[in-house]
Symmetry: none
Subunit: 166 residues, 2 copies
DNA sequence: GCGAAAATCATACGAACGGGTGACCCCGCA
DNA sequence: TGCGGGGTCACCCGTTCGTATGATTTTCGC
């Protein structure tokens, strides 16, 4: 069996190593390419273009990765009934913070509930908010518990009834 | 429900132009830099690094831009003049036949979609409509195919968008 | 700074789900 | 009378989901 240290520290270190290795590999590749083909010919243009392409890729990846997703979208206009004792409900969908906390649902959990309602899988949610799938599972489990749901579809349904999501 | 702004033609064209202009500018800059400073000296390393840096930047920008804006959660309390208590019916929800057939969805499939949206499991649906679980699976499989869904949550979401269910 | 809540991640396992295939039945319609 | 659509059902198999448990790190209020 391969020794698999499961700790977070290890994870971080592993990431660092990963980056290092990637960077190193890149450099090696560039060097090799440089000497094997390019120095002799239209080196500059081709080489430059090559670097450009590669690093655009790196950049895109960096951008997407580091763009550390913040919260969710949401600019919700909380309807504050001025006075009128409105008859009943077309359900304008008022707030979340209140209802959310009333149910003991955390922001993260609510966020995940929203993404669930959009039809995303746990893996997709994980990729979207840049956490592991396990984390998503943990959040959703707790969410289900708080909502009294046994399945994600039920959680969605209950979440809507509770006004947690649109 | 991705808050994706409708990509109208003009937007696309504008983006294309923007990219073009940027690319062109970049090339010009590179050329100038190339001839003014670098060809004479440690051209390769420096030049390459320069390109790399620049294009990493471009890549990041691209990545961040194309990835959709990272939005911040802004919960605004807005005094909404609750003027008209118009009891506009919560969307009578004109049933289905038209939309349903337009998508080639059968009654049974639609029925199951509805129960799915209520958060029922396949087994529960089966018991509810007195068929076997396998049958429910068959129906839902076909339904997913027609809706282009890969998961039941997605089917629900798509079904709502299509006006198949409430 | 300290402690609680929240967030993160891992592993393992059983249950639920989804895809694929094949089969049978019923019914309307050419 | 044959054909096709819709409904029903069964297996198999791989994937996803949900739960349980335990741990570490972040965040935040006091």
């Amino acid at each position: 069996m391969t020794p698999r240290p499961p700790t977070n520290r290890w994870t971080s270190v592993r990431h660092a190593l990963l980056y290092g290795v990637l960077g190193g590999t890149l450099i090696v590749v560039l060097k090799v390419v440089e000497y094997r083909y390019l120095v002799v010919t239209h080196s500059f243009e081709i080489y430059g273009a090559l670097i450009a392409v590669i690093f655009v890729g790196v950049g895109i990846w960096l951008g997407v990765t580091l763009t550390g997703r913040p919260e969710r979208i949401v600019i919700r206009e909380v309807e504050v009934p001025v006075e009128v004792p409105v008859p009943v409900l077309p359900e304008p969908f008022a707030p979340d913070p209140a209802r959310r906390e009333a149910l003991g649902v955390t922001r993260r959990e609510l966020e995940i509930l929203g993404l669930m309602a959009d039809g995303l899988s746990n893996k997709e949610i994980a990729d979207r908010i840049f956490v592991s799938e396990n984390t998503v599972k943990t959040h959703s489990s707790r969410l289900f518990e708080k909502l009294g749901a046994r399945r994600r579809t039920q959680a969605i349904q209950l979440g809507k009834e509770s006004g947690l999501i649109r």
